[in-house]
Subunit: 355 residues, 2 copies
């Protein structure tokens, strides 16, 4: 992991954040004319570690893989507001010498992308060959497309939305409420004491339900009991699906900061790839080639939202391909269906050439 430090970021709100660190990892080698760089953008709970052992997109990035490190220079940075090396609410506020907590300013996907742009500038890259990511990563891809159209040749938004529906906002809000209901949250000022782990675990459990499909849960858990119908304790996890959710919740709190969860989910809810414009107008300045990927069983980011992105691209005169993949894994598909994605992305990238 490397760190890129810079003095100041002017935020969409008008506030200034200073100083700023972005943590990032790179894979492969940047070529001489710096024309082979691909930016990988992570989802809500992701981090810099996209490739290599334990990487969240390990099967997609590496020698001979979709994002072939023999050909491309891959960059993945932790988002602004995160807790995996980049500046976020758990970072030290230089004004107080203590973690920001709720003194951290509200951030948006635009701010997250503007910080990434500074990193790309710093690496001397004029034009990205591509930007790709799923879920909130896909939102960043869209934001790159519309706010920095001259800085990338292609873009691959996956399992994402141009803007959150009220249902998506609602699921995020429930997660936030669960965190803020935790007595340890203490208005975000918990870094010197116990963290709001119970609340954050509940938020993560809600998330995991929305990441899977009805059918993939049925296939994986059915109505199986963990330990027959013997309860050691009333309301302990009894069905396998309950045990799974608790395990996921408990392991999440070890690596994620509750305040980051609040700030980042809020950034997702604010996001509007169309920036208040009509669908017909929104993507008019976009120069990159776009491939939109969606998954039929994804009910958190349903395919009609990807189709809306495609529509905006087409109406904006953008060269656009759209693939709807027949996967059963729900929203998780973008992390699971790597074989199908590899096939599609490899062929798409093959035809992306510097002007």
């Amino acid at each position: 992991m490397e760190y890129f430090n810079f003095e100041e970021l002017k935020l969409e709100s008008g506030e200034k954040l200073s100083p700023v660190v972005l943590a990032y990892e790179t894979y492969g080698k940047l070529n001489a004319d710096k024309s082979n760089a691909i930016l990988i953008l992570h989802a809500l709970s992701g981090d810099t570690h996209a490739a290599g052992p334990g990487g969240w997109w390990e099967k997609m990035i590496g020698a001979g893989k979709a994002f072939d490190t023999g050909k491309y220079f891959i960059i993945c940075s932790n988002v602004l507001g995160g807790c995996r090396g980049s500046t976020g609410p758990s970072s030290i506020n230089p004004k107080t010498g203590k973690p920001y907590g709720l003194d951290f300013p509200i951030i948006t996907i635009t701010d997250i992308v503007n910080a990434q742009k500074k990193l790309i500038d710093h690496l001397g890259i004029e034009k990205l060959l591509s930007a790709a990511g799923g879920s909130m990563g896909g939102m960043q891809v869209l934001e790159w497309l519309v706010t920095h159209p001259e800085r990338l040749l292609s873009a691959i938004p996956i399992a994402t939305a141009g803007r959150h529906s009220p249902q998506q906002i609602a699921f995020n809000e429930v997660g936030r409420q669960a965190i803020m209901a935790d007595v340890n949250w203490n208005e975000g000022d918990y870094y010197s004491g116990p963290a709001p782990e119970r609340g954050l675990a509940v938020a993560r459990m809600v998330g995991h339900i929305t990441y899977m499909s009805d059918r993939s849960m049925e296939d994986k858990f059915g109505r199986k009991f963990r330990d027959k119908k013997q309860l050691l304790k009333k309301f302990a996890a009894e069905f396998e699906v309950e045990g799974y959710l608790q395990y996921r919740g408990d392991s999440f709190v070890k690596r994620f900061d509750a305040n980051s969860y609040l700030y980042i989910t809020k950034a997702m809810d604010y996001f509007d790839a169309f920036h208040g414009k009509s669908i017909a107008e929104a993507f008019k300045g976009v120069k990159a080639k776009v491939m939109v990927l969606a998954f039929k069983s994804d009910w958190l980011y349903p395919t009609h939202q990807s189709q809306e992105i495609v529509k905006a691209c087409k109406m904006g005169g953008v060269k656009t391909a759209y693939c709807e993949i027949d996967s059963k894994y729900g929203h998780d598909s973008f992390l699971v269906e790597t074989e199908e994605e590899t096939h599609l992305i490899r062929n798409f990238l093959k035809n992306v050439k510097p002007d």
Copy 2:
């Protein structure tokens, strides 16, 4: 509201609950041969007050309505384990003189229905003309069908399932975890202090998301802000959908007991209308006529679960009608689409006659 007291209920677990009270309301008049009684069964958060001003099925029950009080004698009791007049975890445990809390025994839908049967016996009703209810009310309808087949002439399960899928269990489990994460929950022993209201509110918020459809949320809230983008406080409710969920959560805690929420949701998760038998065998002894109602946009209790009930009925030789209503309101449809339901139920009941 009336109260039916009885000495003891033997539970499915083998434990005994004693004494027991069931709160209930009746509407209309029981005829001389006691052949016009219809049992209305409420959902998770329902209560005895089904008809009249503020009744949860007000539009369905009354003079000239689907459940016509000019013709029928309507009974609605609060479920065992509830907190609206019937014995539940907030009732006084005679052994300690204090509220049961987690000393209340685990109950099942079978226990809930067995308690209702005692009430029906007490009222001197040999055979119900019908039993009807939506969601968890529908589960009780199914349980009546299979465990007391000689006691009813017809049944109307609405927007329900023969057994919970892992996704349905998962949503309930998240609600339970939110309650148990609340520091005020105190292992269920909170009746002398503050109740776990924050946790219960979060549980209810999750519920409300699942009760609405993606589209009905879109129509009702869209991405509208409550008060422009002016935040008085960070992470306060800002989008209209957030304000709605918070309002629903906050009003729920005034009328519902958190421990009842735990016990009742668990009873739903345990429920298996087929009692471990094959679909072909499960409904073989059923004598009543059945009408199953489902709603296309209901993603919490998807139509394929109603179809499974219909299949079990058909394979069991039960006279069964199935209607899938094209409503946009999601699971809430069973409370909202009263016009369509009235039409269907009125005609169905017209043809239910004592042998």
